[in-house]
Structure formats: structure tokens, C-alpha cells
Subunit: 366 residues, 4 copies
Amino acid sequence: MSMNSFGHFFRVTTWGESHGPALGATVDGCPPGVAIDEAMIQHWLDKRKPGQNKFTTQRREPDQVKILSGVFEGQTTGTPVQLMIENTDQRSKDYGDIMDKFRPGHADITYWQKYGIRDYRGGGRSSARETASRVAAGGLARQAIKQIAPNVQITGYMVQMGPRKIDRTNFDWAQIEQNPFWTPDAAAAEDWATYLDDLRKSGNSVGAVVEVVARGVPAGIGAPVYAKLDTDLAAAMMSINAVKGVEIGEGMAAAELTGEANADEIFMGQNGPQYSSNHAGGILGGISTGQDLVVRFAVKPTSSILTTRKTITKSGEETEIITKGRHDPCVGIRAVPVGEAMMACVILDHLLLHRGQIGESRGRIG
Amino acid sequence: MSMNSFGHFFRVTTWGESHGPALGATVDGCPPGVAIDEAMIQHWLDKRKPGQNKFTTQRREPDQVKILSGVFEGQTTGTPVQLMIENTDQRSKDYGDIMDKFRPGHADITYWQKYGIRDYRGGGRSSARETASRVAAGGLARQAIKQIAPNVQITGYMVQMGPRKIDRTNFDWAQIEQNPFWTPDAAAAEDWATYLDDLRKSGNSVGAVVEVVARGVPAGIGAPVYAKLDTDLAAAMMSINAVKGVEIGEGMAAAELTGEANADEIFMGQNGPQYSSNHAGGILGGISTGQDLVVRFAVKPTSSILTTRKTITKSGEETEIITKGRHDPCVGIRAVPVGEAMMACVILDHLLLHRGQIGESRGRIG
Amino acid sequence: MSMNSFGHFFRVTTWGESHGPALGATVDGCPPGVAIDEAMIQHWLDKRKPGQNKFTTQRREPDQVKILSGVFEGQTTGTPVQLMIENTDQRSKDYGDIMDKFRPGHADITYWQKYGIRDYRGGGRSSARETASRVAAGGLARQAIKQIAPNVQITGYMVQMGPRKIDRTNFDWAQIEQNPFWTPDAAAAEDWATYLDDLRKSGNSVGAVVEVVARGVPAGIGAPVYAKLDTDLAAAMMSINAVKGVEIGEGMAAAELTGEANADEIFMGQNGPQYSSNHAGGILGGISTGQDLVVRFAVKPTSSILTTRKTITKSGEETEIITKGRHDPCVGIRAVPVGEAMMACVILDHLLLHRGQIGESRGRIG
Amino acid sequence: MSMNSFGHFFRVTTWGESHGPALGATVDGCPPGVAIDEAMIQHWLDKRKPGQNKFTTQRREPDQVKILSGVFEGQTTGTPVQLMIENTDQRSKDYGDIMDKFRPGHADITYWQKYGIRDYRGGGRSSARETASRVAAGGLARQAIKQIAPNVQITGYMVQMGPRKIDRTNFDWAQIEQNPFWTPDAAAAEDWATYLDDLRKSGNSVGAVVEVVARGVPAGIGAPVYAKLDTDLAAAMMSINAVKGVEIGEGMAAAELTGEANADEIFMGQNGPQYSSNHAGGILGGISTGQDLVVRFAVKPTSSILTTRKTITKSGEETEIITKGRHDPCVGIRAVPVGEAMMACVILDHLLLHRGQIGESRGRIG
């Protein structure tokens, strides 16, 4: 049991605070012999890195990952991989009244109530900066997946910013890398740019919905009853800072369907079963069907805003606070690579679990 | 690691299949000295029991729980509690073509692809009958919670059936036990009765949304980063059969809010902090605020319907299927006590985790 | 985390007390498609069963195992296997002063100090009766091992009773099943029969050393650093009631050797590496060498004896006690099948772990 | 599940190799508010540090620990503590034929067979250098124990070198810090100095037995059945490199005793129960009695010796090897602080487990 770990077999433990000397991920259970391309791990970290454009926080962090163990001569050894990212932007600053006041919407007050410790330096352990460790671990997971299930492709993108959703008829995979919002709808990207710029200038923020899809996942991974693939995906996504809802396939809208409308009918394709639709999001009974895995999650608006909000101090006095600083007007943007990383970790974990218990998929059809 | 267990400290492992001799829950980590009222555990099981009215399956199961261990002279001993429920309705029947055909929307095909085993008797391990074990474990958890945090009250109810949502202005706690849908809106209950009766007669089914609220949860339980209270609640609810989405507090709608609208402002009450609103659903940074814990989940429509659907056989031939039998037209109804049970297990688990690491809440305010 | 579970992947949770309605093992992580021969599981249980001859307790228990889940049409399904053994000998008896007095050498006093519960019925959870659950789980493990590593053979035997050790020059595998002590030395068996009969008649008891050997274990299973094969074997054996010491290979005597004497030199055989000796007991760096796995453990003498011993009561008064009842004069005898069962569980667990992380042994020699 | 972690609640994951950039321990579950004296953690590390005198390896490592997370303003925060030790002595050297030959008694061959990776740099992950991470984690555990059970005192010492045992009538706690062997018998220290010097000069090595005692441990910590205090201690000690046997209390010699001789009789002292003896080593039924916890373990002789030994190469050719380099003639010496560290981690873990499940010891006597 570790409160800062996830994964059954491919087990990731993250550590570190926003403004400590470093943070990182200790990863156990990685298969040996995986060729490691450090530049690719760095590529995913750069995608999450702050300060890329005006729509993300202007904090400057190189987010350079160092591999301290578990890799020898370019290959994983099968022993723990330590991925460390040093914090360079720890500039001594005046934390002012934040040392005593709790920022509404932040974990300041609950950490205090739980631990009796107030790490006022940028949120400490509760900072979204922790997600850099996840992205590093996810980069490792992606490379290990290639060894075991080379057809898996994981892609995240934004489908909603505030009340503005994408138009699915505009969906174009090629667009995702072409705009600062990782959205497949070019028209939405244009619209959101204006919308978010206005919000940003007014010191406000907004929420978002991110969708992550994994294609090429073999049928048969997952497990009953509490290690279901959807359970683990829900936990993985909900554990990301600021996430308030998670959906698999049809998600909350499944409530509105009849059984007739919801059933994905089954046909026989050339390479195995095919389905008429994917309301299930690629999972039946906690186990993958071989269809696309489809997960969505909602990210709440950044709680750090320039509007004055009412709050209290550690000594219980009522007061007001404005959270100045360098913040993301829509933290959902930077949640895209984090969601991808969590998806990669969950898939690798279940590939290993499956191989351990069963060896290979056992029930062939046709 | 166990794929059929949940909880870090209060650890529940369920076992058993729909039509085997028995099913149950092996529960470890329960505090000693908890007074056990078997009739109350049975009470929760009866709430979930099939055949209570025309809106649930007509399968007849007494769902009588037997405590085989861990309780002595009416008190828990601190050692594992074995809760067993015998299956009485295992009537030998003609399973017919279901032995070879995969039912769309069910786990038949994925279990086959994973395990190479086809337990055609009512879904085997993937049957929602497994949730009886959860309700028994939840009944135990509720009694242990009383010992540690006596003010906790857990209540589940339906807030949506198909596209029909309750009117929150009608919300009345007292109504919940007054109708077969466990809904706090008496008008909705009436409307749903007609709606569901029509669906049932046509052999169709429909989804639902269930909300579970826990009041009186002390501030400070939960933990960063992967054992967050919201992470564990999301996992617990998503692990229930047929659930496709989970929300905490504002849920998916959090995406639509601005930071200004979403911030729950903090005031000082007589007994500690008070909040202007509860968009957060009682959790900040994975740790409880002391406000109501609010979780919602969507249940997809029962996949067993009387409409002919296309499917394939184990040997890969295309065919059709009608899933006859005794089924729930809206399985969301019986998911209400299951959601409550999962909430109870998660809360007890985190109360014990907190006490283990910290002893008691450490940071006092005011 | 469960305090009553062991195994990483093949995860066994035992439950039940000496005089409750039943006890058993909930086993998760078993591979699917394992052919289950219930008679063989019963065979191992019968080996441990009390009342077989005058050298074991005269309590009469049929120890009939029932499989309640996880097996369908004679094969494991890959879901949890529930193995239940009902207690038939729960005769209502006068527990007399044992309800208040703590038996020296027993767990009565520590359970009371920990839990504040005094389950005076034969030791409750701390009774060696719990080991029946282990033997049942071990029987399942043996059958699963056959599927994955069919050459594995596990054999336990006694090598010492009280101060009387076997003569290793008399070692004969065929003798083990020929005497009530499961010893490979026929002369020792004869000697021990007289020795133990005298002890038994005088109401005294004595300790023993059991050795368990696994032949045919493939090289490469095990793992650094805390899931070492020797670590897990040490934990497995030390968790058996009354065990006070565990040795791998040379064991405690390794302290007396020089590096020159201890090194097992390596040669090349027809089917891979061969060793000049096996001081290591088949494990280097926590990983199997392919040689025989050799584990030994010491069992303390039964604490229930007919000699008056000084003790105290729950209220702290000094008093005396004689532990009447049906006891084993040398509980080490019945520990033999228990040690075998633990060996089987550990080996299967590591076979699955290895397959999960690596797929197959990767480094070929020659 | 992590193969490189131990502890249920106070969970330590070590990472790193002998000659990589760094190694360390990621520690989760530490209580918040523990005052951290870094100098004391360094003190324990210095005790294990190589090159202290002619009886330990001459490798020069400062073993300077850096705390990268989980401590703020001198106190633990309750979030993961990252303890890192950089390797400074990674001098580029000619590994020569060791790259292809397997050193007998080392894990070279089994790591190769398992992982297909040959980290020839000083044993890689299998090096005893890993134990530095344990000592750092143990230093943290000791400081947390002070907060919860301030009377606990943990002391390790050598009781046997090769065939030469201490004379227990010479036992003097004050002597332990006075000689390079951490032995309480001054006469033995003198004898061993000559004995070991001769062995060292001849390029040979020898085994040892280490005893670790914890005084002041409260009664009632531990748990049935697989999280027994003795089980966890056995696992903790057996997981240390080169350990081949573990004993609790009477240990292997318990086999030789009769029940009459072995029973520790119970009396009533002023502050609770007292015992006539401590054959049990402070544990009954897996739970502490309040007596001294007594654990012993045997360390095999260092396998790196200057005598030529027969071995094979990766390609299966028979050859010979001499393991030159800087080695410990009796690695048992440096195992003393490692054993202490493991004892500290296990005790803290069980203090937290106990507090979580029960709050405080429940059953008072008298």
C-alpha cells in the first residue's frame, strides 16, 4: 500500500513538491530489454511544459528528465527506473499573506487540516507540477508498450473549453498537433483562442473536457472486478489534479439510452470480431474488446484567479485573497499529455497483468 | 495485488459467480470491538434484493448473509470477516444457444477472449449478482464507521432515469424511502413509474443516474496523490457493473464554469470552516473538506433485452440473439444500495488510513 | 494491503477460526484453464488432518474442502477460487478457567492486548487449524504449477525431532511416505517413535526441523530486492504457527564457512549450467539458479502441555494453568504438508510474476 | 505490488545500482510533523560506510544523503520522502573478463538468466551497495518511532564470526560501539581482529551472525496471519544481501526444546505482565509481548575472493575467475547497521498499522 503509487504491476510512485529541489517517479515492474529513447520521453515532457505559449503559465521550467537507475546501455534492466526532474525555478519570493490564508478551491485548507503542515510554496505536493512525473513515467510506459503490443497508439485532445464543444463532424486527427489546444477541430481552435485570450486578460479561468483514445489495444486485457480496465482508467484520470468527472465510451449520457440503442452489435471481420458502434468505449465487463478505448475527463477551472475571493486564515479570521502569480487560464490544455501518460501506464500495467496470469489471450474466435 | 479486492486498509475481496453454490466477501482490516447487528446488514441486502416489485428482476433469491468468521459474541475480533450468501436459485435450465452465442453489451465475448472459458450460467463472475457481496461488506463498513465517526450518514438516490431528470426544487430526503426508485422527487417517481412500465412491457431497458451523498464526514481524510478520496470513490463506483461515468461535485459540468463561478468561498462558522457553495463535492486536493461528499454515476441500460440483436458465436459465425430471462428494466434502481455500500467502504478505509498515518487531524483552525 | 494475505500475484487470503462455523482460503490470480482434481487437493489436506495416528492430536475433523467459486466444469476460470472447510468438531464444552487465564506460549495474551477480544475457543484465529486453509490453497497452486512448469516436484520431510537429527547418509526419498514422521531416514523414524511416545505419555511436547525441497524449478524466477525468492520463502515459512527460524541452503551454518568453501563453482552441463555444490540452496541474488530449492524451518514445541505452568488472568491475578485437551506432542509432523503448501504458493507466485514482467527467461547461456 | 518495496504502511521502495549516478529510497506513509535531524540519518549511514577500517572494503564513498522531498522546514510533511545518495566512485575501469564471466556465489548468472541483461559494473542492482538506501530509510523510521513510541531502542551487534561465537557471559552493551565488529564481547573483538586479518591477507572471506534487539516495543503490535511481526522481520532480514538464515528468539534451537522448557511463564509486574524467560523473542502469535524483540541472521561469506574458482561465460564456455577488487573480508560487519535499519522500518510499519486498525491497545490487564 502506498498512497502515492498507482498500477498493479507497472507500479509508479511519484514524489516531490512544486518548489522543492526536485520531483520524479520511481517506476517498478518495467520489463527488461526495452530500448529507451530519452529524447522521446523529453518530447512528452515538453508537450506538458509551461510557458509554451500565452495560453499556459509563464513559469519557466526546462523540465529536463534525468534517468538515475534501471537503464543500462540504452535498455531497461528490469529493476526500478528513477526519473528525476530538478526544479530550477525556485526563486526566493515574498509569499506574503499566502502563508496564512487558504486559497479557495486549492488544497491549502485540507492539507492543513490533515497534516498540520502548510507548505505555502506554490501548493507543495498538491501542485499540478506533480503531473510532470506522470508524463515521464508515461513516456517510459509508451516505450515498453511498443515491445509488447506495437500497434497501440494513444492520442489525447481537447473536446470542450468552457461551454464551447467541438463539432465532431470537423474531427481531423492531423489537426491535433497544429494548434495550442490539441484539438482535432480547427474551427474550435480558432474560436477558443479569442475566447481564452479574453478570459486570460480579465484574470479569470475556465474548465475543459479532454478525451484520450487508445487504438490497437488487443482484446482481453483488464480483469474483474476491482481491477477492471475502466475502474483503473477512472482512477488514473480522477487522480489528476482538478479533474471532477470521468467517462468511458458513452459516459454519463449512457443513462439516457435504451438498451436497444446502447447495444453494440457484433459481426465477424477478417481479423476477428467487429462492432456496429462503440457505446461501450472499448470495454465490456472490465475487459478490452479490441475497439478503441475512449476516456473523457472534465478539468475544473484553475482556482488561482485575479478576482478577490473571501477566505479565512489559519487562525480562523475571515479575510479576502487575490491569487496573483503565473497561472494557466485553462489548465485543461496541459492536462492533455497527462491524460495520455495515464492511459499509457494503465495499458502497460494490464498487458503485464494479463501476460502474468494467462500468458496470452486464450479464447480464439472463429 | 488482487484483481478482485478493493480498499487500502479496509480490504474487501469478493468471490463467487451468479449461479455457483455461493458468493461473498472476505473482509480484512476491520477494527475489533465493532458491535455487529446482522439484521442491519440484512436490511441493506434486502434493499438490493431482486423481486421486490415489478421494476426489478423476478429472480427469487433470499440473499441471506451468513457470517462465517471474524465475529465473536456479537463483536468483530479484528480478524477477517467472511460474509457468505448462498445462491438458492440455481435451477437447472436449458441455456440453449447462449452457450455458444455472445450477448451484445455483456462480458461474454471479452471473458472468452481473455480466459478461454465460457461460464454461460447467467454471466458467471461478470453478473451484477456480485454486487450483493459489496452490499454485505458495506453493511459491515457502516457499523465500523459508527465506532470512529458516528456522525457520518450515507444516502443514495436516483436523480435521472433515461432522459428524465428530477427537479431539484422538489428534493425531499423523506421521499427517498417512499418509492421504488429511491428518488427524493415524488413527482419524478410517479412519472418514472409509467415510463418504466411501458419500457418493461416492450422488453426494452433504460439507463439511470444515481447520486450518493455522505454527510458528517470529518475534514482531513483522503491522501495525495493516487489514494485521493475522489480517486478511490471514482474507482469504487466505476467498478460497479454497467457504470460508464463518475462525477464528484460539479462533475463534467465543472468544465463549463469559470474560476470565479467555481470557487467555493470560505467563511468561519461556529464549529470550523464553512463554505459558500459545494462545487467541489466536499473534496479539495483529494482530501475531505467536511462538507457533504457528493458522487454521481451513470448506469447504462441493461443489455438483456427482448429485441433481436446481431452477434456471433464462439466459432465466429454471424447470428442473432434475443436475451430472454428475468431482467431489470432499469438496473440503476438496484445500483442505489450498491453505491451506498461502496461509499461506506471508501470512507471507512480512509478513516483507518488517516488514523494510522496521523492519529488524528492535526491542523486546527482558529 | 491485507494482513491475512500472502503472495504478490497468486494471492491467498485465509479466514476463519478454530471453532467457528468454517474456515478457508480466498485465492485470486490463479491462471484459467487449470484442470482441478478435487481428490488431489483433498489428498494434501488428509496428510495434514489430525487424528491420523497416535502422534497427532485426536481431534476429529474430516477437513473436507468445498470449492465455492472459480472452478467451472472442472477447470479454473481465472476468477477467485473460494476453498471452504467446515468445522464439524465444534462440540460445546466447558472452557472453564481458560476463558480468563492466558496460556503461556500461546497467543492468548497478545491477542487480548491487541484486540481486547478473548476468543477462548481453541485459540480462535491463532490456532494452527488455520493451516488447513494454506494446504488447500497449496493444493490449488500445485495443480496450476503443472500447467506452467510441469517438472517442479515439491517434497517436505522432517530432519530433526528435539535434539535427534537424521543421518543424511540414510537419506531415501522413498522412505518419506512410509512413516508417520515424513522422514527420509528409516532408522530415525524408529528412534523417534519411541522417543515421542514417551514424551506424549508424560504430557510433554517437543520441537522439530522440517526441510522442504523443490526440484525442477526453472532458473530465473524471483526478483530483487524485497520480492526475492528467499525473502518470500522466509516469510511464507515464518508465517506458519510456531515457526521460529528459517534457513535457505546452508542457512545459519553459512556463517561458519569461508568464501572459498561456500562458493558453488559453475560448470556447463548438457542442458545448461551445473554447479559443484548447492550451498546457496538454489538461489543467488534472490533469483533461482535451477538447482534444488532448499528451505528448512524450526517448529517450537507445542505450548499446550500437561505440566502446571505459572500465568496470570485478564484481571492481572497470578495463577497456574494446565492445558488439557487434544494436542500434538510434536506439531512439526503436521507442519510438513503445510511447508510444502507454502513452497507451492511461492513458486507459482513467482512463475506468474516472471511471466508478467518478462514473458520468458531471456538470457540464454551457450 | 512492487518487487522493490517493503512495508505495508510505512512503505520503502529502493532504487539504484552500484555504479549508476545515484541510488536511494522513496518512502511513503511517514507520519507528518516528525522532526528530522539530517545529521542523525547521516550518522547511521556513516556506520555502514565502506573504508572505515582495514576490515571493510576500501571503496571510498562519502554516502552523503540528500532529502529531495517530503520534508519542509525541518519536519516531515506526510508526503513521500525521497532520500538520494549519489555515487561518487564510478571511476572508469577495465572490467576485463568480468563482462562475460559469471562470478560464483554472485547474482551475475541468475540476473542474466532472468533479464538477459548483464550489468557488470560491480553487480548493478544486486550489489550490497543497495543497503545504503535501507539505512537511510531506517534513519527516517527511527525518528518517526520517537514520535509514537519514544521508549523503543534498537541495537544490533555481531555474535559470531566464522565458527567463533561470543561468550554471552561477557555481554556488555557499552562495548558495542568500542570495536570495529560491533560486538558486545571485548574478548571476542580481540580474537576476531587477528582471525580476520589473516583471512583478509590470504584473500579469503568468512560469514557471520548478527543479532538485533529492540527494547521498549509496546505489547500488541503485529498481526495475524501473514503480516505477523515475526514474518515481516524474517522477510526484512532475509531480503538483505547474503543473508541465508533468520531466527526469532530461540530460533532453530527451538526444535531441541520440550514444551516444558520452552514455555515463558507469565507473572504480574508493576507495569503489566512480566515473563520468566524470553524463548519467544518477544513475539507470540505474530504479536509483540512487550519483551525484547530478538532477531538473528546469518550472513554468508563474501563471494568475491582471491582464490581461483571455476565458472562459465555467457556463451557457455568453461573457464576460471579470480575476483579482484575492493571487498569486505566479512561483510557481516557492515550488515549490523542494515539489520538495525530493517528492524526500525518493521517496527514503525506495525505501529502505524496498529494505530490505523485499532487506535490504541485495547485489552488492558489488571
